[in-house]
C-alpha cells in the first residue's frame, strides 16, 4: 500500500554518505508492484545511486507517466516532489519543470508502453531538445497493469503468456535515442545491479539528455519460455560491451577488478567515468558505430548492454535558449515586468 510509510528506525551502524544520510533517507513508500518485479530492482538502483552521489533527496524532481513503471517514483526518494502525470506525457511535463527551475535534478521514469507507444513522440522530442534529465525506461515488453498485452518493444516472434506470437517489429528505444541525438545512451538489465547503479549515477551527473533503457522482466506476464524479456532470456543473451566505474572529485565510488582496457571519460561537472571495455571493438564515443553495433547484435538476438554512447561536452535546452542562470521560478515582478515607462514607448509606437 503506497500510503503505508516504511518504519523509519534503522540499525545505528548503517553506513552514511557525505551528507550524513543513510540509504533509508533515499527510500520511499512500500512498493505495490508484484513480488520479484524487475522495476523494484531499478528502484533499489536509483536509491543506491543517489546515496552514493550524496544527492540531497529534496533537490530531485521525480516525474513519470502512467503504468507500473510510472508508479515507482512513489517508492524512492520520499522527500522529493514527485509527479505521476499523464500516460505518455512525462517528457513534456519534465521539460516544463526543467525550464521553470534549472537547479533541480530531473529524473524521468517511464515504461515501454508509456514511451514507445502513446508517448513515442514526446520521448523523441524531449531527447532531441537536449533536456537535462535522466530518462529511464523500465522496459518489460508488456502492459502489466492491464494484464499482459504486448508493448511496442516486444520482439517480433516472442510469445505472450497466453501463447500469442507477436508479429510486429520491435522498437529499440536505445537505438532511437542514439538517432535522436541523446548525449548519453545506456542499456542495462534490472537483474544486474553492479552494471546498472554506476550507469544511473553517470546519467545523473551528465549534463544533457541521458537515456537509459533498462530491461526489466515482468514476473506476472512476461517471464515465461518464449519471452525475450524474461530473466533467463536476458541473462543468456546479454552482451555487455563495457563496465562503468564512476569517479567524482573524491574517492572512486565503484572500482571492480575485471579484465579489459580502461578508458577515462571526463564529464562537464568533473565526474570521471572509467569505462572498462569488455568488447575491444566497442567505442562509446562513436554514435554512428554504436548504432551499427546495436543493429548487428540485435540481428543475432543479442541484447547489448552497457554505456553505449556519451558526449561529455554536451549542452542542454537551457544553453540553447540562453536562459538566465537564476531559476525562472525565482524571478519576481521587478525581473519580469517592464513597467509603465516601457509601456509608454510601446503605446507611442502604436499611434
Amino acid at each position: 500500500m503506497t500510503y503505508i510509510a516504511k518504519p523509519k528506525f534503522h540499525h545505528p551502524g548503517l553506513p552514511k554518505n557525505e551528507l550524513g544520510y543513510t540509504h533509508r533517507d533515499y527510500e520511499g513508500k512500500i512498493s505495490t508492484l508484484c513480488a520479484g518485479c524487475g522495476h523494484d530492482s531499478i528502484t533499489a538502483a536509483i536509491i543506491e545511486a543517489c546515496f552514493q552521489l550524496s544527492i540531497e533527496p529534496h533537490r530531485v524532481a521525480k516525474i513519470s507517466g502512467i503504468g507500473c513503471s510510472s508508479k515507482t517514483p512513489d517508492y524512492f526518494l520520499g522527500n522529493s516532489h514527485g509527479f505521476n502525470s499523464v500516460h505518455g506525457r512525462m517528457p513534456s511535463v519534465l521539460t516544463g519543470a526543467n525550464l521553470a527551475n534549472r537547479d533541480l535534478i530531473y529524473l524521468g521514469v517511464s515504461g515501454d508502453g508509456d514511451s514507445a507507444s502513446i508517448g513515442f513522440g514526446q520521448f523523441a522530442h524531449s531527447i532531441r531538445r537536449g533536456v537535462n534529465m535522466t530518462y529511464i525506461v523500465e522496459n518489460n515488453g508488456v502492459y502489466g497493469l492491464t494484464k499482459g498485452q504486448f508493448s511496442a518493444t516486444a520482439d517480433r516472434g516472442s510469445k505472450s503468456k497466453r501463447g500469442v506470437v507477436n508479429s510486429d517489429n520491435a522498437i529499440d528505444l536505445a537505438a532511437m535515442a542514439l538517432q535522436l541525438g541523446a548525449s548519453f545512451v545506456a542499456r542495462s538489465f534490472s537483474g544486474d545491479k553492479t552494471q546498472l547503479v554506476p550507469i544511473v549515477e553517470a546519467a545523473i551527473r551528465h549534463k544533457g539528455a541521458a537515456f537509459i533503457d533498462v530491461i526489466s522482466p515482468c514476473v506476472a506476464f512476461n517471464n515465461h519460455a518464449g519471452s525475450t524479456k524474461s530473466f533467463d532470456y536476458v541473462r543468456e543473451h546479454n552482451e555487455a560491451v563495457n563496465r562503468l566505474d564512476i569517479i567524482t572529485g573524491r574517492a572512486p565510488i565503484h572500482i571492480e577488478q575485471a579484465p579489459g582496457t580502461v578508458q577515462m571519460v571526463e564529464q562537464h561537472d568533473g565526474t570521471r567515468l572509467a569505462l572498462r571495455k569488455l568488447d575491444a571493438d566497442y567505442d562509446a564515443h562513436d554514435r554512428l558505430a554504436a548504432m551499427a553495433f546495436l543493429q548487428k547484435h540485435a540481428a543475432k538476438g543479442q541484447v547489448v548492454t552497457g554505456l553505449l554512447y556519451v558526449d561529455p561536452e554536451a549542452d542542454d535546452l537551457h544553453s540553447h535558449l540562453n536562459t538566465v542562470d537564476a531559476a525562472l521560478n525565482t524571478l519576481e515582478a521587478k525581473d519580469l515586468c517592464p513597467g509603465q515607462s516601457a509601456l509608454d514607448k510601446i503605446n507611442a509606437a502604436l499611434r
Partner: protein, 615 residues
Amino acid sequence: MPAASPISSVNDFVVRFANVNGSGSASANELFARSILRHGVPVSPRNIFPSNIQGLPTWYEVRVTEDGHLGARGGVDMMVAMNPQTWDKDVASIEPGGYLFYDSTKPMPSSKFRDDISVIGVPLTAITNSTYTDPRQRQLFKNIIYLGALSALFEMDAKLIEQLIGEQYKGKEKLLSSNVHALHLGRDWALQNLKCPIGLRVRKADKVGDRIFVEGNSAAALGAVYGGASVCAWYPITPSSSLADAFTSHCKRLRHDPATGKAKYAIVQGEDELASIGIVIGAGWNGARAFTATSGPGISLMQEFIGLSYFAEIPAVIMNVQRAGPSTGMPTRTQQCDVISCAYASHGDTKHPLLFPEDPAEAFDMAAQCFDLAERLQTTIFLMLDLDIGMNHRLSRPFKWDDSKQLDRGKVMTAAMLDDGRDFGRYLDVDGDGIPYRTYPGTHPTKGSFFTRGTSRDRYARYTEEGPAYQDNMQRLLRKFETAKDLVPRPLQANAGKPTKYGVIYYGSTTPAMDEAIGMLEARGHQLDRLRVRAFPFHSSVPNFIADHDFVYVVEQNRDAQLRSLIVNECGIDPVRLVPILHYDGTPITARFIAKAIGDHLDQLKVTPLRKVGA
C-alpha cells in the same frame, strides 16, 4: 437599372480591398487605414483571408467611422477590385450608389459593371509598367499607386501619408523615397484625370485621441510579459500563432538581462498541442508562470491535461484564439464557439474559469490577470480571444500598468513556514475558501514534499479510492470555484435611458457591434439594459440581472447558444427567459444584424393597432 444617386458621406463609409493573397497588398492597405487615423478619424479594419499563403482571394475592409463604431458594419461603399477571380461577387456586393475602383489598363466589357454605381478606372498596370521594370517592384508599388489615387479621391492629406511612410522606412532612405514617389504617381494621375473628390471623403477630425492601434494577439502577448509569464510552449495554429510570435518579439525587446544578454524567459515550440500544455503544466507545477496559445482543435487535444490541472490543482494559462469549428471548420473565420468546450474541458466533473476580453486593451489587462488567477486558484485559466479581436488591428485605449503591482503567487508554503511547524496537507482547506497550500519542488529537505497525481487522494496527498475522501475533495474543488466568482472580472452593466423590461447579455468581440446596435434599437423605439459578461464562473450579478428583466437576449457568435447554455446550467435559469441571438457564418457580428434580430423580435411583441384599409 436606374442610376442610384452616388453615396455621399464624410468620415462614415466602408472601403473593401479585394486582393490576391501574397501580393503584398496587406501593408499598403494597412497604411491606408493608419493614414485615416492620422486625420483624427477612427477606423476599424478587418482582414478577411483564406487558409492559404499565396494565390487565393483575400479582402481587407476598412470601416471609416468618425462616430467610433468599431464593430463590422456590413455592406461596402467602395470596392477596390484588384482580384479578377472574385470580380463578379465583389462588384455585386457594392451598395447601390457606391463606387467601384479598378485597374482600367485592359478594357472590360460593359456587362462586367453595374449602372447603379460609380465606376472609377485607373490604369494601374500601365502606370506601374511604364515606371518600373523589376517584377517584384511592379507588384509592390502598384499597391502604393492605388493608395495614392484613393487619397486624391477621398481628399486625404498626402502629407500625413508621407509622414507615416517616413516613420515606417526610417533609416531606409531609398525605400522611403521610392514609396513616396509611387504614392504621388497614383495621386497625380487621379488629380489630373478624375473628378476629385468623390462623394466619400475623409475630413480631419479629433476623434482618435490617445488611443492605440493594435492587434489583440499582440496585446495579449504583451499582457503575458507584464503578467510575469516566463515559460511559453505552443504549437502553430491559426489564428493563435501570431500571439506566440508576438510574445517572442516582446520578450526579445523587454526580457533580456542587460548585463549578460541572457533570457528571462523560455519559449518552446512543442511537437504538438499535447506537449505544449504538458510543458505548461510541468512549469506551473514547478512554480513558473506558464502559458500556451492555441485555438479550438488544440483545446480538443489538450483535454486530458486540462483535467489533470483541475484535479491535481496546477496553475496553467491557455489563450484560446477561437475560430469557426467544428473539426477544422473555417480556420480563418471568427466565432465564439469554444465556450462550452473550455468551460467543461476534460472527462469527469470539471469546470474552468474563462475570461472574455472585448478588445486589445482588455486582452492586455486580462492576459496579465490570468497568471495571478491561475496561481491564486491553482487551476487552468482560459483567456477567450477570437480571430476578430486577435488578428485585426483595433483602435483601443492605451495600455496601462500600475508599477506598484506585485505578482500574486497564491498560497505557497515556504521552507520557513514549514520550519515554523505549519501543518502541510497539499489538499487541506485551511482557510475555508477551497484553496489549499502548495509547495514548490525542492523547498525543504524533510518537510512539504508530496506526490502529485491525477488519481484520487486524501487531504495529505495520499492515494485513496475511499468514497468519502474522494467526495470531500470534489466538494472542496466546488468551494474553490465558488471563491473564483469573486476573483474573476465582474460583468459590466449599462442601463437604458428609460426603465425597460428587457435586457441583453453579450461578451467578447460582440461588444462594439452591440454598443452600436443599442443606438439603432433606440432609434426604433426599443430600450434595452445591457450586461457584458467578462468571465466564467458567473458573478451573482448575472442571475440578478436576468431576474430584474422579463426576458434577456443573449447575443453570441456560435450556433448553439453556448454562453446561454452555460448561464442556464450554472445559474439555474428557466431557458425561456433567455432569447438567443446567434451569428455564426464566420464573419464578425454586425450592429445591423443585432439590431434587426432584436428589433424584429421586439416588434412582434408590440400590440399594433389595426389600420384601416387605404389609410
